[in-house]
């Protein structure tokens, strides 16, 4: 009985909000997955749409912002790419993959801003 009560309390206090969050996250993840699949086929415009949607569904989902940064970079939209990467890094400051993408982007961006 005690165990049942504890589990119920856990579900209500922790798992329920997590489940709601998880629902948003899983919807966002589905958009991210689709975006990855189309980006791998070179359909970057569709990928941008999917990753923007994912970032709206779950603004705290760093991969959506990271991928959006890559897509914008690939389109030459440097300001948008920087914003997206920086949002991703704000959300996951210790993520080395995002950091690496951002560093590579900055290398190009610095060259562009110094030349032009």
């Amino acid at each position: 009985m005690v165990i049942r009560t504890l589990v119920l309390a856990y579900v209500l206090a922790v798992a329920a909000p997590i489940a709601a969050e998880a629902d948003e996250r899983s919807n966002a993840q589905a958009q991210v997955d689709f975006g990855i699949a189309v980006a791998q086929r070179g359909l970057w415009r569709e990928a941008i749409y999917r990753w923007k949607r994912a970032s709206e569904l779950d603004p705290s989902y760093a991969p959506a912002w990271n991928n959006l940064g890559i897509a914008y970079e690939n389109k030459g939209a440097f300001d948008k790419a920087r914003d997206a990467y920086e949002t991703a890094l704000d959300l996951e400051p210790n993520n080395l993959d995002i950091q690496q993408n951002y560093d590579l982007f900055r290398e190009i961006n610095d060259r562009v801003t110094s030349d032009r």
Partner: protein, 276 residues
């Protein structure tokens, strides 16, 4: 199972499911817009350059030849096949003066000490070089007034139906840098095992430094539209005998993408990591 164990396992499942990232490497091609809007031009004229430095390479002729061939394959502009102008002579005639050549002695040989461990470069070596008539980078500055002479460029532009004119200065000179360098050396211990140990040794290195300044002029108005400056150097072991022309091409190769990026869009290929 205790109540605590149940909760702990639930938390653990929640945490693990939230932390798994899948990574996908993807090739990207970042487009870069041209630095200069050349939509108003159909033709391009590589006029010629004011050159200084070593006379082992005819930097005026070689640069014009190289840029023309690169533009023919990498630009939509029609490259005008015209004789290269001896701009140095033109500049001297126009200004009615002969600027000091080799006055600064800067090109004769430049010795740079790599770090504090290095012994001082022998000043006698500098003195041993014969006085030459080569123009130093500073000397070239005296000739730059020709680029501001709009009427000269407008007149030249008229001859070729108002093209985009490429001109500027090229300085290509020998360069020497001696100092301590690190290299790896194979050593064998008492058991015959091979090891690689870093060894620092004094090394004399010689090479070249290339400093071009490209100036883009509107052949219709004679006005300067854009200027870009580069500096590239290359060093070899002093025992290696590398021809000046080969070094020149090696250095030009490094800065050609930037030059071409002024006139036409380019793209940079790389890879990024998509995260799920």
């Amino acid at each position: 199972m205790t109540a605590l164990q149940v909760i702990a396992s639930l938390v653990a499942v929640t945490a693990v499911s939230g932390c798994t990232n899948l990574l996908y490497e993807i090739p990207v091609e970042t487009p870069l817009e041209p630095k200069l809007d050349v939509s108003g031009f159909q033709r391009i004229l590589i006029a010629g350059f004011v050159v200084g430095g070593t006379e082992d390479v005819d930097a005026n002729l070689e640069t014009a030849r190289l840029l023309k061939s690169q533009l023919r394959t990498n630009s939509d502009l029609d490259v005008i096949d015209a004789e290269v102008i001896e701009l140095l002579t033109v500049a001297e005639e126009q200004a009615g003066f002969v600027a000091p050549r080799g006055g600064s002695g800067r090109d004769r040989e430049i010795s740079v000490i790599d770090d504090l461990e290095t012994t001082e470069a022998d000043p006698e070596n500098l003195d041993a070089e014969p006085a030459d008539t080569q123009l130093s980078e500073e000397d070239l500055e005296a000739y730059e007034q020709i680029f501001a002479d709009a009427s000269y460029w407008r007149q030249l532009g008229e001859e070729y139906q108002n093209p985009l004119i490429v001109t500027g200065t090229i300085h290509f000179a020998p360069y020497e840098r001696s100092g301590m360098v690190s290299r790896e050396r194979e050593v064998y211990d008492s058991f015959g095992r091979r090891q690689v140990a870093p060894v620092r040794a004094y090394q004399e290195r010689r090479g070249y430094v290339l400093s071009p300044k490209f100036i883009f002029i509107d052949g219709g108005t004679g006005a300067t539209l854009y200027t870009e400056q580069h500096r590239e150097e290359i060093l070899y072991d002093a025992r290696q005998n590398t021809p000046a022309l080969s070094s020149y091409f090696e250095l030009m190769d490094r800065l050609l993408p930037s030059f071409l990026g002024t006139l036409s869009s380019e793209s940079i290929r790389g890879t990024r990591i998509l995260i799920r």
